[in-house]
Amino acid sequence: MLSADRLSVRFGSKTALADVSLDVPAQKIVSVIGRSACGKTTLLRAFNRTNEMIAGARTTGTARFHGTDLYGRTVDPVEVRRRIGMIFQRATPFPKSVFDNIAFGPRAGGFAGDLHELAEEVLTSAGLWADVAGDLDAPALALSAGQQQQLCIARTLAVRPDVLLMDEPTASLDPAATARIESLVHSLKATYTVVIATHDLSQAARLSDMTAFLDAGELVEYSPTATLFTNPRTRQAEEYVTGRTS
């Protein structure tokens, strides 16, 4: 459903993603693992067309969504981002109220329903409702780092994308909140397709159906999660998942 075909991204003269080809099946969870700076974020951002805001970024190859080239001449990047939502690695709440953070995306997309109902729904999904229900007008920046991450997840859900790209969504969360987000991701599988970048190998093993292992911008191995963790085809993947470094 979502696929990359020889997708490359360069920042200036530096290649961050080199000839990556992979297929993300509908209603599956795909995790992307690999060392820091291997290109996980860049891959996710390529699907959501947010690399192009970085000066000097150049994307080549194709990325398809239901067969449509996301980088096609007639494709509106705004539409791409509404359909393929992304939760960024660094949680960046808008310096506004909790409610306005949730409402921004739906309003931008012309949402006509009840924003309060929507806010309650997505905040509950993200496990934040109990914490903020009393005061949706509180400033988002007054939340803790973990709560801010949860707010950013809720705010992306509020746009109701078809695909959810999550860039290390639980990196700043406590075990309980992490468990909540993981069960959320699990429940999302029924309706969404999820791509999740993570450094937490056990999380990748727990959550995902398929796992992609990136190294230095290249896709080294893309296998069913069980295979990649127990019986990887490549030596690099084996070394990475077993924690051995050569």
């Binding site: 947010t50 981002r81 939502g85 808008f94 310096p95 306005d100 921004f104």
Partner: protein, 304 residues
């Protein structure tokens, strides 16, 4: 004598830690900057006190007092400074009405819409930065050539307003652009990532986040130019207006030029009038600054 750590602590302390615990030494660290900054602040305070003293004397003189106790004939009444006050208010209004929208619009274009790598854009940015440093009198000369001689705008409030707006413009562009640039890119990425259009990102994220410094910069630029005499003198401001300007076509009068015209005359009564006009000018500039402060507060509530 401070008791040893072990006695004060509610927790048992191991003998080694107890042995290692030394009493806290009282004392200060040397900090050169602490002294230097205190000196700088004191100098600033002295300068402010000096200015306040001079003004106080001027107020006293303008109210008819003199050094030898005899009141001057004719202080600075409304009949004499009224036209100039009205002129300066008109000029400030024209500057704000022209420089703010054009300046903010230009800054938004440069920072959010133009492609930063284009050579023309970068040349434009550099030109704006340099224009902000051009002496104000040069704007007067340009205004004289273009407006008075070229467009036959006459020595009018209109011509003066255009010249002052042109003078304020590069500063408004530069301060607005800086305020816009200070909005973190993560905020833009987050907003675009949620499917917002460029207009929505600019209107609902960038502008509210940058509103306060934009307003502060514009306010400073406008009050600064409202106090300028040089460009208006070059344009040919009149120094003996008998009626307050009622529109842009009326003759150019202003407080700064009036202060100058009166201050250079030898007679004592003109010195008093100059002082009165200077005080009126300061009052107006203070008023503009306070208005800017309220505007900034209001913006913060209205914009998001």
């Amino acid at each position: 004598m401070t008791p040893p750590v072990a006695e004060r602590s509610a927790y048992p302390v191991s003998p080694t830690i107890q042995a290692a615990a030394k009493p806290m030494l009282p004392g200060r660290r040397r900090d050169f900057l602490a002294g230097a900054s205190r000196l700088a602040a004191a100098t600033m305070l002295a300068a402010a006190a000096g200015l306040a003293g001079v003004l106080a004397r001027a107020v006293w003189q303008a109210n008819g007092g003199s050094a030898d106790g005899t009141p001057y004939a004719g202080g600075a009444g409304w009949e004499t400074i009224g036209p100039a006050v009205a002129g300066t208010l008109w000029l400030a209004l024209a500057t704000a009405a022209l420089a703010l929208p054009i300046g903010l619009g230009t800054a938004l274009y440069l920072e959010e819409y133009a492609r930063p790598k284009r050579r023309a854009v970068r040349a434009f940015q550099a030109a704006v930065a340099h224009l902000a440093g051009v002496p104000s009198v040069v704007y007067g000369v340009a205004g004289l050539v273009v407006l008075v001689h070229g467009l036959s705008a006459g020595r009018s409030i209109f011509a003066g307003g255009l010249a002052l707006a042109a003078l304020a413009l590069p500063t408004v562009v530069a301060t607005s652009a800086e305020a816009i640039r200070a909005v973190p890119d993560d905020l833009r990425t987050a907003a675009y990532g949620l499917g917002a259009t460029r207009w929505q990102v600019v209107r609902h994220q960038v502008l509210p986040a940058a509103a306060a410094p934009i307003a502060a910069g514009a306010c400073a630029a406008i009050t600064r130019t409202a106090g300028e005499a040089a460009p208006l003198l070059v344009l040919g401001a009149t120094s003996f207006a008998t009626f307050a300007p009622a529109g842009p076509g009326d003759p150019l009068v202003s407080l700064p030029t009036q202060v100058f015209a009166w201050a250079v005359r030898p007679q004592a009564e003109f010195a008093a009038q100059a002082a009165g006009a200077a005080i009126a000018l300061l009052a107006i500039l203070l008023g503009l600054n306070v208005a800017g402060l309220f505007l900034r507060r209001r913006l913060r509530k209205v914009l998001p």
